[in-house]
């Protein structure tokens, strides 16, 4: 009805079914106060918190529109120019349903808004983090949270489905068949108990990574939720264990702690030394054959490349997969020629970009 048509232009997703439902609902309610009418429509038409919050505004605007446009709507009816549904409808119960005769220009404006909203998301998801203008930062963060949530679910599902294979456990089957006179009636299966993988993430927070670190940190936080155990470290000139901070639910709080940490947020990089430190202090505890290691760094190394190679080799020997994500790889024409990067490559299983949301989401492919 009129309100539905209006609400649709304001971004609530309302189809014919919803409109019918709303009519039905309004009929079912005996009392005819405006408030009840509003609650009624809200319950039927909204289906998420966002819409819920939007609804009251839309409703208020609608009412204002009704008051302002009442005479116009009546006129239109007389002239038979307005569409029949847009005209004023009186239900048999004497309940008012107001004209939704909104000017077409207003509708047009709203539509363009909605369209550009969608394309903003698309644009942001492929954009290099360093290129994101400050005014889009908040939007990107929101989008990131949503998309990351989705990926991780897919990740979890995939792990489970691939675990669905079993081998016949003959021994138990026969043991159990004794009860039925030796007929192997019910078969026992032996299933491989699937260990959920562990994750170690090392994030480079040196000056050159400055533009990316915060986003990548958020990414780490989202990722951490979906592994049995996640150890997280940040490094620039030295290594800091942030596993505990990452586990806490309050991410904004975690940021504060991070920036206060003595690792030298945004200083020079000594990847090799940091990794050696990691191997010595945490290697034994963190690394095992069911561990994925992700290094997030641009490979600009002021330390010794030989040390880097040695340490990477040591890590590689002990883990399931070593993934190096490099934000610079997203730049056009970038070649991994920095000394550090060149030394590291032979030991890395997967070398992938990490400059935009899309590239981060692609990571799930590698974590199998």
């Amino acid at each position: 009805m009129a309100f539905c048509r209006y609400a649709r232009t304001r971004g609530l997703s309302i189809g014919v079914t919803e409109t019918l439902g709303a009519t039905e609902a309004v009929r079912a309610v005996p009392d005819r106060t405006l408030e009840t009418f509003q609650f009624c429509l809200r319950t039927v038409l909204c289906s998420s918190k966002e819409q819920w919050d939007l609804f009251d505004d839309v409703f208020a605007d609608f009412l204002r529109g009704v008051e302002r446009q009442k005479p116009i709507g009546d006129e239109k009816k007389r002239d038979h120019r307005g569409p029949p549904t847009g005209a004023r409808i009186q239900t048999q119960t004497g309940f008012w349903i107001a004209p939704g005769a909104k000017t077409s220009t207003a509708d047009g404006d709203n539509e363009t808004n909605a369209v550009s909203g969608a394309s903003t998301e698309e644009r942001l998801s492929t954009m290099d983090f360093s290129q994101v203008p400050p005014r889009d930062q908040a939007a990107l963060e929101k989008l990131a949270r949503r998309m990351l949530k989705r990926t991780s679910i897919r990740l979890a599902r995939r792990f489970r489905i691939s675990g669905r294979s079993g081998r016949l456990d003959v021994r138990r089957t026969i043991r159990r068949s004794i009860g039925r006179g030796g007929d192997p009636f019910d078969l026992s299966y032996r299933q491989q108990k699937r260990q959920q993988a562990k994750l170690v993430v090392l994030l480079d927070v040196s000056g050159s990574m400055n533009l990316y670190s915060l986003f990548l940190l958020q990414f780490m936080h989202a990722l951490a939720k979906h592994f049995k155990k996640t150890d997280a470290f940040i490094f620039s000139t030295s290594l800091v264990d942030i596993s505990r901070e990452l586990r806490s639910n309050a991410l904004p709080g975690a940021f504060e702690i991070l920036s206060r940490r003595p690792a030298g947020w945004a200083a020079g990089t000594r990847i090799g030394e940091s990794l050696r430190d990691f191997n010595r202090r945490y290697g034994r505890k963190s690394l095992s054959r069911d561990t994925f290691v992700i290094i997030l760094s641009d490979g600009w190394d002021t330390g010794d490349p030989v040390a880097l190679a040695t340490e990477l080799h040591a890590i590689k020997r002990r883990v399931k997969k070593l993934v190096w994500l490099n934000p610079l790889l997203g730049l056009h024409g970038y070649q991994p020629l920095t000394r550090g990067m060149a030394a590291a490559l032979p030991y890395v299983d997967t070398f992938a970009p990490a400059h935009s949301l899309e590239s981060l989401l692609a990571l799930e492919r590698h974590l199998r």
């Binding site: 997703s13 079914t17 919803e18 439902g21 039905e24 609902a25 079912a28 309610v29 005996p30 009392d31 408030e35 009840t36 609650f39 009624c40 809200r42 319950t43 039927v44 909204c46 289906s47 998420s48 918190k49 819409q51 819920w52 949503r146 949530k149 989705r150 679910i153 979890a156 599902r157 489970r160 039925r180 009636f185 019910d186 806490s248 639910n249 309050a250 709080g253």
Partner: protein
Amino acid sequence: MALRPEEVSNIEDVIRGFEACGYVLDRSLATAVFLLVKLGKPLLIEGHAGVGKTEVAKTLAAYMSTDLIRLQCYEGLDSSSALYEWNYQKQLLAIKLQERADQTVEEKVRHIFGPEFLLERPLLRSIRADKAPVLLIDEVDRSDEAFEAFLLELLSDFQISIPELGTIRARRRPYVVLTSNGTRDLSDALRRRCLFHWIDYPDPEKEMKIVATRAPGAAPGLGTQVVEFVQAVRRMNLAKPPGVAETLDCVQALASLGKDRLDADTAVETLGCLAKSAEDSDKIRAEGIERILARQG
């Protein structure tokens, strides 16, 4: 005697009925419940933890004087634990007993797949019940997407197909209440089939009323104080802001300690009722409990 949908004639009835059962609900939620009863559509309730989502279903069951059938969702929940399962042990025994019986194979099959070998799980039970029960599907966001898709079928037709028995239709449509905490996005298809209601934290007056209803033993001033304290704490941007359940816990804790007013010492002692993680309780302490209390005057 169970209340029939026809007997619920207006929204005031719902509000009064719920209050008689000890649940304070505002007009907006009452409208939603009223529509749930009248239209027979499922109601999806979202909101923060501890604002009384599950309680709506429980109270509805009490109000309609019917059964509450609860299905707690979790990841990996499948149809055999939500819907039905065959009682395999009993079937095997039956086969063994029938071994020497003079029956054709068809008869035997019909026997062992008869209703007495069927284990009813919540969803099937809600459909086969004689009087319409309240079916609470709790924390539906915890189940996986496959199960959600399966729910869709049930919620639109209220019928279940069991290959060996045929299709079972609901005798009476259950009143379905779904709750979600938003740990993941629910599919649009599910949302579209449901009425929706968002429960926010209550305003002070409503919360006071809830405390008075649910914790009648507490001193009157105490309830007011705790509510004001909790409302202040809620504004503090904690990881887990306290819900109404926490307020009630806190009031009850204080009442059972024999206190009739909230001061800094008792607030610290009962902080565990409100802050559910070390970080949060540190945060509240850092803010200064005295200061929060003093601000209320």
